[in-house]
Amino acid sequence: MITKRLLIAITLIASLISITVLTTAHANNLASSDQPEYAVEQRPNGHLRIRVQVNLADRVERDHYASRQRAEAMALARSGVGSVPVQITFVRPLSIAEMQLLAQRTGLVAELVIFEARDANQGQHTVAVGGNGGDLVDLDSLSPDLEVRSLRLVGVTAMRGTVPASASGLGQLASDERIYIPDVTPYQLAVEVAARYGLSVDKVQVSVPTPHWYLSAER
């Protein structure tokens, strides 16, 4: 009799534990599918830095992230919230002329432009240039340092800037086949975290990784 009760009790407890574990796992899966993992750092000047983590080494996860960002960008383009921060990773390196045309058509303003460069042995390098308004970058100023390291600019592989959240702005970027990831996480997280911490959005800085190195290496 006692053994039977003991068995029932053990079975009940095991069932409860299983249900709890499964529910937690399901909740975690739901959470991770909604938003990438990120860490928040509070700076001494009161600003927040958010560092987003995405497993870019895993091609499946990378492609999944890219698809989700494209959908998010399309949705944000319909919102008409004004100018929003965006980080773009290109499928292949774009020439300066292509970049300028894209910027003109969409209203994209560059803050940081990342170039792939190659040395004489085809070694891979990165040149990250602060935005220069309408002309995107001042290439003439780069020449001396490129020569010192025998570097040749291949093209623009990624960039960060702002774009109007409209059909002709962000919507056009999100539907451009040359763009791999139109990442709008910087906007979404800044708004969400600023509200949670009671800060203005301009005091929240968001860092999102770009897989530009992997894409260049895999080409």
């Binding site: 560092r51 870019l56 990342i114 990250a128 800085q205 860092s207 990784p209």
Partner: protein, 206 residues
Amino acid sequence: MHAARRCTHLGSSLVTVLSRWKHRGRVSHTASITKIHWRLSVPLVAVVMLFAIVGGVLAWDPGFSSSPYTGNFWLSTSSGYQAGVSDWIKWNSSGLTALRSDSDPRLDMTADCTADNPGDDQLNYSVAYTNVPNNGIDAWSDCGLPWVREEVELKINAGSVSAETAYYYQVHYSKNEYNVSGAINLTYQRDNSPTHDWLDKVLYSN
């Protein structure tokens, strides 16, 4: 810094214990009690000292094995810009293992002013050159004018880094002011922590 604080704390704890032991000896009224106290205190002090030494060693263990070795860090100056150039950045095999265990390792080059090192908006990020495999670059504004960016973080792509390969990381800043002096720091940042491992620092004078 944190390790130093921990070690200081251990040091002050040891001083407190020794001070109490000394005080206890003074208030003993008989030679026998003092003798017993002495006999008890010797192993106690020995144990405390052993703990302090072990704790101190652990506290001082720098744990910087994931930091790159920086062979050379120097400045390049022209009339219009100030550049910090770090050459011969290398990871050995154990350093690379540690690097890959970090969730978000970064190389950080910072010119004053920042909240950590307040100064003035003397220098502003212009361009970075590197062959360190990376997941992009962040240029942060940390104090002063919001559009002046002095902290430049390279997001290291640890999976693509090779052991014993010499890398470089070079950041150019445009000058906002002349006839001023300051410093450019190179640090390694681990695991999303605000704690930086200081690698090198160079002073400049325009």
